[in-house]
Structure formats: structure tokens, C-alpha cells
């Protein structure tokens, strides 16, 4: 196979599939046929200058989804556009914004991107569009890097303001009087990469948008909201949760696509006893090399910075040995300089760079053109991210190939053996809870700072008076004699809110690597116990840091940069007490509930685990006080199992089934498995029933548990399926969790319990199952 003659993609793929050692690992080979473009004509109301500008860029007709979106926006509807990577989403919101400003130069548009880099890309692209239409338009980014003298110009004259939620929250909204030109004339708000606004971050951003819309109302504007999202299970619902307004879903993709092969690959089992598998990185390299040698543009995704460097070194080494195009393979990850990144993006677009090894930094809408092959070393954690990465390969004409190489992690194994999960539907959904009390109260403070509240004024779900009265007890707001609520503290509330964490009290992480220490980020107390305890490896933007010191009472963790091959995992000992049941319903063999719980957590030791193999390479003690966390949880009781099970067996079965449920829940709701905690009780103190709890690790919860309660059936079926299809003989880390006592068959016990709880034996996840709608008060 040492052939460096250029070959086309199908030929290389065919050759690879004839190679037995590689073909053996292919679990599934899906061919997605080519699709023709669906066109629609330009709307007649579109300004002539814009039409001719598009024509000069070679765009004579629109794709059907683009036309549908801009017609809906023209009609004054909020829309949410869900189409794959590189299907021309930008035009869906750029054209309405251009049109609005072409009609009335005093009109304003606000574009929100989750990161600064994306915003800058979009400014450039939007500027080109406007220029080709011959419209002089002031498009400006407003972020932390914007110099002070330019800021006042942006405030007064920026017609299209491009920013991010953090900047909107801390710099624009509290100073809204300086932005009155924007807020008086705001016609359109664009929220790109909608799927990134989930969890705690999404809950915060939903409240930032509440504040934004409240200020718009004060200045008399009612902007249309356009959301764009990668493929997820519940885009309309997510848009509605985030913006508080219903949106029209536009998901019929009209962009053309070439034929695409998707291969799901499983590394061979190295040790049948423990179920340990070969490295995903090594296998990914073997798949990537022949394509590179044949001159096909290839992107390889690694899951961390370290993985990227390992992959890159391996590929270059292999290409050097065989005199291949070694210098045309580059790395791309957080930590590279912006200029370096821009050069790599340009090189990829122009074909000068043949291969790139990247982290998910390249997952979001950075423009690198279209490549031939995408190889994913490890499941990226969600179907949406997987498709975004796969979407990097895909020519409009000709064949492209995507290879997903699984690692040994439970989620990876589950996904790879359930191709329909990845290919047929998107059961996973993004959740957020804008009414999380911690988050809601924090933003209510900021909102009061911005504008006084009228009595009875609604903020979020209901009139805010009760909440404001609560804040008045703490003296941050007061009700004046005119009945309105005013901010009455000298604090600046926006500065006390971090959009990335729920609780107000956080541990600040300080990086001591540079000469002048800098704040790396914050984590809430509960997460701090397991993430930044002393001697932990803390990973931030896929860079590793070693925690030198944690000053618990000062709420500060001091870290420095390291480059090691392991991560740390802290064991949490948890006791749980239900406080209030929000909803309950009978289930087969027991009951399911969700509600508020009190979790007491004590962290006493941590393990060092190797990347890729998760092999245990050491441990250490942790000395931290116990913490209490009020959060929400989903729990199910196995009433029937109480009487006829042996207590020991039941203990193992509950834990095994719980682990599987936790894995499936993380997959379905697009969260890190660490965001959901597991507690099992053979006899719960309050109900005396065997109980499995899944609680949210975020104070107050972000709505996951309610959704788990609703998707109970899917969860059980998935858990049973995960265990049943696992290749191990009596339970392993990939299904029922690490085996504590080798003599006990955790696998069959957990399966038996799940069957008693109503899991259909051997059934697949009911794809696209309608969520069990429950009568929720």
C-alpha cells in the first residue's frame, strides 16, 4: 500500500476495505446517496442591489431552505434554521439583515455568536456581501478586544453589531442608555450555533435574552429572532426555551451533497477478560494515512489537545518514513495563535494543506471549505457534534468518507453498536432551564439594575413580584412608594454573574504559569470538589493544568500548565434526601418521580486514569469539607423488587442498572456523564423502597431530570440494550460499571432488574419516540 500516486476517494476506500485487518473493525458501513439541490427563486421584494450583489458572487438562485427562511422572516416570524454544516445558513439571516438596512439605514441588527473568533469570521463575510451589493454598511464586532475609542462609534453608528452573550450581558445591557440607537431600531437578532446554548450556559443566555427583549420593549422595538442550529432532536423547543417565543422550524435542506460513506469502526479487543480495547488514535491514524498519501484532503478530529498532538506526531512520523507529504499535515487546536489558525484555514480552503488534525475548535462554523475525508478518533460526545465533524468532509460533487473510530468508553461503545442512533434519527436533545432559581434570581437582579420593574411585570414564567420581594429582603432591590421595584445597592450585579456557572459562590481558578497570574475561569463549589482538588488535572479549553493548591475558604485554586498523559477522577460519596416531589407516575414494577433533592457530597480520594485506555495509574487522598447541594433529580423505585430479591444482589443490580441509565441519560440529553450524579439505595430512608436516583450536578438543576422523567421508557430500554449488547461476560466499565466483586454477575442481575422495571428485553431504542407527555402541573 505504499503508493503515493494520487487516487480518488472511492478508490482509496475500496482498497482499504480489502485490507482484512482494517475491514474487520468496521461495524457499520452506511452509504448516503448524493442529493440534488432544491432551488427557489429570489423573492421579488428583495432589494435590487442585493440581488445583483449576489449575482456578482455567482448566486443566481437560493436553496429552498434559504428562501423559506427569508420569506418567513420577511413576514415577521421568528425562525429556527436547522441544516447541516456548510449548507449556506449565513444567507438565511444575512439577507434579511441586509434587506432591513437597505430599506432603512437607521435599522439595526444584532448577531450573537458563542465565541469571538466566529464573530470575526462572520463580520468579514457579511461585509463582503454588503460590499458586493454596493451598500455601505457599518458592521462591527463588539467584544473584549474592541478598543475603547472604537466602542463609542460602534454604539452610535454600528448598523450590524456582532458580539457574544458574555459581552451582551456584562457590557451592553447594563449600559443600554449608551446604546439607545441600537435598541430603538433593532429589527433582527441572530443567534447562531443555537445548540451550544444548553445546560447552565443556555439557562443563563435565556435570561440574558429576557433582559435584552425587556430593554427592546422599553425603547419600543420588537426585533425578530433568527436562530441557527446544528442537527439536534428538539431545535424548536430549544429556541422556544431560549428566547421565550415560538419559532418556525426550517429544516428541509435544499443544498446539494455528494455521495457520502459513513463507517463506524471499533478497535479490536486486546484483553478479552477485561474487555480492554486498542487505542482509537492508532486506528484513526491507520485509516487516515492512505487517504493522505493519495492526496485526498483529510481532517482528523482528536478529543483533546493531547490527543491532537499524539495523532499529529504519529501521522507525520509515518509519512516521513514513507516519504509522504508530511509537511502538508498541520495541527489546529485551542492555544494556536489566531494568525496561525487563519493561515491553516486559508491553506485548507486553497488546497495547499492536505491534512489537519484538530480538536472541536474546528467544529463550529469556521470556514475551511470542504474536504474529502473526516476521521473522528473517538465519539465527540453528541450526535450533533458528530455530524458537524462529519460534515467537514463533503464535496458538492463526488464522494466523501467519514470514519468514526470508537474508544473503549461506554458512550462510544453504545453509539458504535447502535448505528441507527447516529444515522436514522436524532434522539438527543439540548436542555436548559431558564427558571433555575439561582440563575433566574441573578439575572433578575441585573434586570432590575437595568430598568425598574413595574408591579406585576412578568419576567420569565410569572410576575416577578414574589422574587423581587425575596431580593428586597437581601436589600438589593426596594419597592418605592410608586410601587415599582428599583435597584438599591451600589454593586454592579452583572459583574457578579458568570454565564458558565449556576451558583453565585464560585472557586476562581488562577493560572500561575505566566509571570502575571491570570484567572482561567470559575467553577461552582460542587464541581470544584471533584475538578480542582489538590493534585487534580484540570482541563480547560483542552489544555491541561495541574492544581497546586486549593484554598477552599478563599475559594481559589492555583494551577499551572502541564502536559501529561493522564487525567484525574475524584470519587464522590453522596447521600441524597428528597425535598419535594414535582411529579410522579406509576411505572412497571414501581414508580418514577422527579423533584427537588438535597445532595450531601464528600470527596475523599481521586484516581489517575490514562487517556484513551482509562487505565488506573495511581491515586491520592482529598481533604475537603462536605458540601450540600440543592438540585433536582429523577428517581425510580422498584417497589416490587423489594420482597423477592436478595439484598446483596439487589444492591449490585441497582448500581449496575443505574450506571447504564446514567450513560444513556447523558447520551440522550447531550451532557457530560459527570453532569448527572448517580445514587442507589436498597432501602431508601423515606420510602423504604429500592431506588435509583439520577441527580443534576448543577445547583437548582437545568431541567434534565424533568425530561428524564418524561423519557423514562426510552431510558430503560436504552439501558437494557446497552448492557445486553455489551461484549463482556459479567459486567464491565462500559456497561454496568467497574466490577467490585468478580464473583458476582452484575450484568445479568442488572438486566433482570431492568426487565422487572419494564424494559423490553433485547429491544432497540424506539427511534424518534414521541416523548411521553405528562400532565405536569
Amino acid at each position: 500500500m505504499r503508493t503515493y500516486a494520487p487516487a480518488d476517494t472511492p478508490a482509496v476506500l475500496e482498497r482499504l476495505l480489502e485490507e482484512p485487518s482494517l475491514a474487520r473493525g468496521v461495524v457499520h458501513h452506511e452509504v448516503i446517496p448524493a442529493r440534488d439541490a432544491l432551488h427557489a427563486s429570489m423573492p421579488t421584494w428583495l432589494d435590487e442591489r442585493i440581488v445583483s450583489g449576489l449575482a456578482s458572487r455567482g448566486i443566481e438562485r437560493l436553496y429552498s431552505h434559504q428562501a423559506e427562511a427569508i420569506e418567513a422572516i420577511h413576514a415577521g416570524e421568528d425562525v429556527v434554521v436547522v441544516t447541516p454544516t456548510a449548507s449556506g445558513k449565513t444567507l438565511c439571516y444575512a439577507l434579511p439583515a441586509l434587506q432591513a438596512i437597505a430599506e432603512d439605514p437607521s435599522a439595526r441588527a444584532l448577531f450573537l455568536f458563542p465565541t469571538k473568533a466566529l464573530g470575526q469570521d462572520q463580520v468579514a463575510e457579511f461585509g463582503e456581501l454588503a460590499a458586493s451589493a454596493g451598500l455601505s454598511m457599518i458592521t462591527s464586532t463588539y467584544d473584549g478586544d474592541t478598543p475603547a475609542p472604537i466602542r463609542s462609534t460602534v454604539r452610535a453608528a454600528g448598523q450590524v453589531v456582532v458580539t457574544n452573550p458574555d459581552m451582551l450581558h456584562s457590557a451592553i445591557l447594563p449600559h443600554h442608555t449608551k446604546w439607545f440607537q441600537l435598541f430603538e431600531q433593532l429589527k433582527i437578532i441572530v443567534i447562531d450555533e443555537l445548540h451550544t446554548y444548553r445546560g447552565v450556559f443556555g439557562s443563563h443566555v435565556a435570561n440574558v435574552l429576557r433582559r435584552l427583549l425587556r430593554i427592546c420593549a422599553h425603547y419600543g422595538s420588537r426585533p425578530i429572532i433568527v436562530c441557527c442550529s446544528a442537527t439536534i432532536g428538539n431545535p424548536s423547543e430549544l429556541a422556544a426555551m431560549l428566547t421565550g417565543r415560538p419559532a418556525r422550524l426550517i429544516d428541509r435542506n435544499g443544498a446539494p451533497a455528494g455521495e457520502r460513506h459513513v463507517l463506524l469502526v471499533d478497535p479490536p479487543v486486546m484483553e478479552p477478560a477485561s474487555g480492554a480495547r486498542g487505542s482509537a488514535a492508532t486506528l484513526a491514524q491507520r485509516w487516515a494515512l492512505p487517504f493522505l498519501r493519495a492526496g485526498r484532503q483529510t481532517i482528523v478530529f482528536g478529543r483533546s489537545r493531547v490527543a491532537v498532538e499524539i495523532l499529529l506526531t504519529g501521522l507525520r512520523e509515518a509519512l516521513r518514513e514513507s516519504y509522504g507529504p508530511r509537511s502538508r499535515v498541520r495541527g489546529y487546536r485551542g492555544g494556536y495563535l489566531p494568525t496561525e489558525r487563519r493561515a491553516i484555514e486559508r491553506g485548507l480552503r486553497e488546497g495547499e494543506i492536505l491534512g489537519v488534525v484538530a480538536t472541536n475548535a474546528l467544529e463550529l462554523g469556521v470556514d475551511i471549505g470542504r474536504l474529502d475525508v473526516a476521521i473522528l478518533a473517538g465519539y465527540p460526545g453528541s450526535v450533533a457534534a458528530t455530524w458537524q465533524q462529519i460534515g467537514r468532509a463533503g464535496r458538492r460533487l463526488g464522494t466523501s468518507v467519514a470514519v468514526l473510530v470508537a474508544s473503549g468508553a461506554p458512550v462510544d461503545q453504545y453509539v458504535i453498536h447502535h448505528p441507527e442512533f447516529l444515522l436514522e434519527s436524532t434522539p438527543e436533545e439540548a436542555r436548559l432551564d431558564p427558571d433555575n432559581l439561582h440563575v433566574l434570581l441573578a439575572h433578575l437582579r441585573a434586570a432590575t439594575f437595568e430598568l425598574p420593574f413595574d408591579p406585576g411585570e412578568v419576567f420569565g414564567p410569572a410576575p416577578a413580584d414574589d422574587l423581587l420581594a425575596f431580593l428586597a429582603e437581601e436589600r438589593h432591590v426596594r419597592q418605592a412608594s410608586d410601587g415599582r421595584w428599583y435597584w438599591s445597592s451600589e454593586n454592579f450585579p452583572a459583574s457578579e454573574i458568570s454565564l458558565r456557572s449556576a451558583a453565585p459562590e464560585n472557586v476562581v481558578i488562577i493560572d500561575t504559569t505566566p509571570d502575571r497570574p491570570r484567572v482561567l475561569g470559575e467553577v461552582d463549589l460542587f464541581s470544584a470538589q471533584v475538578l480542582v482538588h489538590e493534585r487534580a488535572i484540570y482541563i480547560h479549553e483542552s489544555i491541561q493544568y495541574y492544581v497546586d493548591r486549593l484554598e477552599w475558604h478563599e475559594r481559589k485554586a492555583y494551577v499551572h500548565r502541564v502536559d501529561v498523559d493522564h487525567y484525574t477522577y475524584a470519587n464522590r460519596a453522596v447521600t441524597l434526601k428528597p425535598l419535594e416531589v414535582f411529579a410522579e407516575a406509576p411505572a412497571t414494577g414501581g414508580r418514577r418521580r422527579h423533584g427537588e433533592v438535597m445532595v450531601a457530597s464528600l470527596v475523599t480520594l481521586f484516581k489517575k486514569l490514562k487517556f484513551v485506555t482509562d487505565e488506573n495509574v495511581g491515586w491520592g487522598p482529598i481533604d475537603l469539607p462536605e458540601l450540600e447541594l440543592q438540585t433536582t433529580a429523577y428517581w425510580l423505585t422498584a417497589d416490587a423488587a423489594r420482597d423477592h430479591w436478595r439484598r446483596d444482589d439487589l444492591d449490585v443490580a441497582l448500581l449496575g442498572a443505574g450506571r447504564a441509565l446514567q450513560t444513556i441519560a447523558a447520551v440522550l440529553l447531550m451532557v457530560d456523564p459527570r453532569d448527572l450524579g448517580l445514587v442507589t439505595q436498597v432501602r431508601s430512608p423515606h420510602a423504604e423502597e429500592p431506588t435509583i436516583y439520577l441527580y443534576e450536578a448543577v445547583p437548582g438543576g437545568i431541567g434534565l431530570s424533568e425530561r428524564l422523567w418524561q423519557r423514562h421508557e426510552e431510558l430503560l430500554a436504552g439501558a437494557a440494550e446497552l448492557i445486553a449488547s455489551c461484549g463482556c461476560d459479567a459486567g464491565c466499565p462500559a456497561c454496568t460499571g467497574p466490577r467490585l466483586e468478580p464473583s458476582i454477575d452484575a450484568r445479568s442481575l442488572a438486566l433482570r432488574l431492568l426487565a422487572e422495571l419494564g424494559a423490553p428485553a433485547g429491544a432497540r431504542i424506539p427511534v424518534a419516540a414521541a416523548p411521553t407527555t405528562a400532565a405536569h402541573p
Binding site: 432590575t448 430598568l451 415599582r484 438599591s488 425535598l579 402541573p777
Partner: protein
């Protein structure tokens, strides 16, 4: 949804109760307080009582007004107007100072006390407007607008950066136009330009002490003010606000006093002669900004003629308020920069307890010595077109000490080459500069940037003019560069780097 179902409300109440018990609230200010509304009328009465003002009832609401006894403070407006950047003599002046509920000029900061000072004939009169309750802000703003005639000039201290933008924000929130005015004189930049050489910082308190000879006793610290007012709004005592109102009154008066000080000390060209030389040098720079070069040069001539060590001999120190123990210093200001407890900086009025305006090094590190004034003067002479005089000034400086002599040699060379068409003379100046630079290098104070400039000039002039001074050829080569590296061992160069550039 106007009325949420009772069950939801009950659940919320229970959740809030648990929230409260868990102490998860966003950090209470003091003990929890039972929520209670106070009538605006009651608040206004208490406030007026405490600060010695009267409640003014208008059609749309009420505010509290304090009239201060007017004082004799004559000012010669035409003389003041002669100074750069000052208002024309026929414009009414409105001295303005606000007290606010915070330092951020963002939407949630309220100006609750506005002091307004005006001249009525030779007498200076202060009126203060107070906000008795949040709901009455519109009334207060309307009242303030009545005190600012459209042809008036505002006089403030840091008002461009803080007070006025804050008031504009308040007007905008109340959906009213901010009052028109003809101009805005912010005294902070003027104080910086003229007096920074002899003050530790630019706080108004320091200005009073160092320039006006006024020392306040029993004054309230700026950081305490928001707390006192907010405490009152929440039902606390109004008495602590009396000191705040006095503080604001003194601030407004100081604006008037400062204008008079400027007019008397610097406005009259004859009186100027006895002003400290640093003041005159600063004034010269102010004139220069207005392109009034002759007056600027006159200032510098006066400065060079004056006594070198004279500092401001202001009026005798006057104590304006009763004696009291020194105010306690502000806590938690020593927090490190990354500490979450550290007050975030959102611009606006700088935090008063840290020396604002410039750091101490800048204040004390660059005194207006004779050389620095002479350098300014030479620059001015050139800009005003008096080339011969400028050349003379630079030549004189080139015979003087220090780094300035090298700079002067370069400047002289520039004038000779570009203005006087005298390349040979320019070359001589450059060579003089190179000699000076060599001397400084020998003393361990090399000036690589100046040397590079000189070498560049020397090469160019040599190419233009007839060949001479071949002995200098060695300077052009890299040999001299490498000798730099040799002669400056690590220790030496560090010492050189630590030295301030000026001397």
C-alpha cells in the same frame, strides 16, 4: 399569564424558603430586612429635616431642596476667559457636582444629590437638589433642567467622564431630553496639566489642600456615601446624610474657588510671574494646544526667570468644618487584582482612595526642572516659526548636561539641515551629539535609539556634503555595535535599564 396559579406560587414560596435556609442567596447586605414600603412623603420630610432643607411639592411629585448661604467670591470673567479652554465671559456658569449610588455610569446608578453653584454678581450661591425616593426622579431631573439655561457652561470636576454621562443616562431612562448647554469645562484635566508636578494625586480634596489652602474636617469619605443614602431609602436614619450634603456643598464651592484661583494666579499676565515654574510650564502647554505660541513662550520665559524651588504659597489654611478624628480608611482596597472581592472598574469616577490621575512616579519623577522647560521652550520657538531663536535655544541646551543635550544636538541638526539649508553646520551638530553620546556610554548610560538616529543622520549628511571627518567612518560599521555588547555586561546594562530615561 398575569396571575400564576396558586400552586405554582406556593411551590415558589417553598423553594424560596429552602433557598433562604440554605443561605444560597446572592450575599445579603446586612441582616435580612422585612420588606416594607415607605411613603415618598414620609421619606422627603425626614430627609429635609435631617439636612436642613425644604420639601418642594410640584405638580408631579416632590423633591428636597437645600439653599446654602451665598458667599463673597468675586471673579473677573474676562481675565479668566483669556486662559486657554475657558468659557467666554458672557456665558453663565453652572458649577455641578453629583453624589450617586455607585461608581458605574450604568443604568442602575442614580444621582441622588445634585449640587449647583452659580455666581449672582460677586456672590457664589449653592442650591442642592435631593431625591427623596426612586419614584420621584423625573421631578428631580425636571428641576435640574430649570437650573441649566441653554446658553450656560457647565463647570465640573471629572464631569465629562462621570457626572454628566450619568445624568444623560438618567434623562434617557426617564425618556426626557438632557438639558442643552453651550459648553462644558471639566477642571480635572486642567488641574492635571497645570498642577500635577506638585500634587500627589488629582483628587478634589488634594486640590483644596494643596492649591486652595482649604482643609476639610469631619468630611465623609466618598465610598461611604452610597451606603448612607441607600440605608436611608431602606428606612434607616436620614441623619448620616447631613454630612453628605455638606460634602457636596464643599465640592461645589471648591469648583468656584478653583476657578477664582486660576483667574487670580494665572489669568493676569503680571501675577503669573510669581507662580511656581511648574504651573507656568503646564500653562505653556495649555497655550500650545490652542496654538497660542507667543503666550506659551512668555510663560516659559517667566518660568525660567522665576525662583527654582518655589512651591504654591496659597492662602492661609482655613478649616471649614469642625474638628473630628481622622476618617477610617477604606477596607479591602488592598485585595490583589484577581480577587473577586475587589471592586470592578467600570470607568467613571475613579476610586478615590487610590491616588488617581497619575501615579506617584509620574508626579515626582519628572519635575519641571530648568532643562525640561528649556526643551519645551525650544520646541515652541520652532513651532512658532522663530527658527534662529530656536536654534540658539537648542545650541544652548546642547552644551548642557544629560540626555537632553543629545536630543538638543539632534534638533539643532534638523533645523540647520531642513530650515536653514546648512548641511555642514548640521553635520557639526551631529558630531557634537555623537561625542555627547560617547561620553554617556562611557558613563554606563548608553542611548542606543539616539545613537542610531545620529549615525543615520551622519551617514546621510556625509553623502550629501563634501567628504570630511573620515575618522568617523568607524562609527558606521558594526564594530561599534559589538562594542556595545562587550562594554555592557549583564549587570551593567541592567543598571542602565533601571535608570529613568530623563536623567
Amino acid at each position: 399569564m398575569i396571575e400564576a396559579p396558586t400552586t405554582e406560587r406556593d411551590r415558589l414560596a417553598r423553594r424560596l424558603e429552602r433557598f433562604r435556609r440554605a443561605g444560597a442567596g446572592p450575599g445579603a447586605v446586612g441582616d435580612p430586612l422585612p420588606h416594607r414600603r415607605h411613603a415618598a412623603r414620609e421619606l422627603a420630610d425626614r430627609l429635609a429635616d435631617a439636612v436642613g432643607g425644604e420639601v418642594v411639592h410640584g405638580e408631579r411629585g416632590l423633591h428636597v431642596r437645600v439653599e446654602r448661604e451665598s458667599v463673597d467670591l468675586p471673579i473677573d470673567r474676562s481675565q479668566l476667559a483669556d486662559l486657554p479652554g475657558q468659557p467666554p465671559p458672557d456665558r453663565p456658569l453652572v458649577c455641578l457636582d453629583t453624589e450617586t449610588t455607585g461608581l458605574a455610569t450604568a443604568a442602575g446608578t442614580v444621582a441622588f444629590l445634585i449640587g449647583i453653584g452659580r455666581w449672582v454678581g460677586d456672590r457664589f450661591r449653592v442650591v442642592q437638589l435631593l431625591l427623596p425616593d426612586h419614584g420621584q426622579e423625573g421631578v428631580l431631573l425636571d428641576e435640574l433642567a430649570r437650573h441649566i439655561p441653554p446658553d450656560s457652561w457647565l463647570v465640573t470636576y471629572n464631569g465629562r467622564g462621570f457626572d454628566w454621562p450619568l445624568l444623560v443616562t438618567r434623562y434617557r431612562l426617564a425618556r426626557r431630553p438632557a438639558p442643552e448647554h453651550a459648553g462644558h469645562l471639566d477642571l480635572l484635566p486642567i488641574v492635571r496639566r497645570l498642577f500635577r508636578h506638585r500634587m500627589a494625586d488629582a483628587r478634589l480634596g488634594s486640590v483644596e489642600r494643596d492649591l486652595l489652602g482649604v482643609i476639610r474636617h469631619d468630611d465623609v469619605d466618598g465610598w461611604e456615601i452610597p451606603g448612607r443614602y441607600l440605608g436611608f431609602l431602606r428606612g434607616g436614619p436620614a441623619q448620616p446624610l447631613a454630612a453628605v450634603v455638606r460634602h457636596n456643598d464643599e465640592d461645589v464651592r471648591s469648583l468656584g474657588r478653583l476657578l477664582v484661583h486660576l483667574e487670580r494666579r494665572l489669568g493676569d499676565p503680571d501675577a503669573r510671574a510669581i507662580a511656581p515654574r511648574g504651573d507656568l510650564a503646564g500653562l505653556a502647554r495649555a497655550f500650545r494646544r490652542d496654538h497660542r505660541f507667543e503666550e506659551a513662550i512668555a510663560c516659559l520665559d517667566a518660568a525660567l526667570a522665576g525662583r527654582p524651588d518655589e512651591l504654591g504659597s496659597g492662602p492661609a489654611v482655613v478649616a471649614t468644618q469642625t474638628l473630628a478624628p481622622p476618617p477610617t480608611s477604606r477596607p479591602a482596597e488592598d485585595e490583589p487584582w484577581w480577587s473577586p472581592r475587589r471592586r470592578p472598574d467600570f470607568g467613571g469616577r475613579p476610586v478615590r482612595s487610590s491616588g488617581i490621575g497619575w501615579d506617584r512616579r509620574a508626579a515626582f519623577g519628572r519635575p519641571w526642572d530648568e532643562v525640561r522647560i528649556a526643551v519645551d521652550r525650544a520646541h515652541l520657538l520652532r513651532r512658532s516659526g522663530r527658527t534662529e531663536a530656536a536654534l540658539e535655544a537648542w545650541e544652548a541646551l546642547a552644551c548642557g548636561p544629560g540626555r537632553a543635550a543629545i536630543v538638543a544636538a539632534i534638533e539643532a541638526a534638523k533645523l540647520r539641515e531642513h530650515r536653514l539649508a546648512d548641511p555642514l553646520g548640521a553635520l557639526a551638530s551631529v558630531e557634537r551629539g555623537l561625542t555627547l553620546a560617547d561620553r554617556r556610554r562611557a558613563l554606563g548610560m548608553p542611548e542606543p535609539a539616539l545613537e542610531a538616529d545620529l549615525r543615520h543622520r551622519w551617514r546621510r549628511l556625509r553623502r550629501r556634503g563634501p567628504g570630511q571627518s573620515a575618522s568617523r567612518a568607524d562609527r558606521t560599521g558594526p564594530a561599534s555595535a559589538s562594542s556595545v555588547g562587550r562594554s555592557n555586561g549583564a549587570g551593567q546594562s541592567n543598571i542602565a535599564a533601571l535608570r529613568p530615561a530623563s536623567r
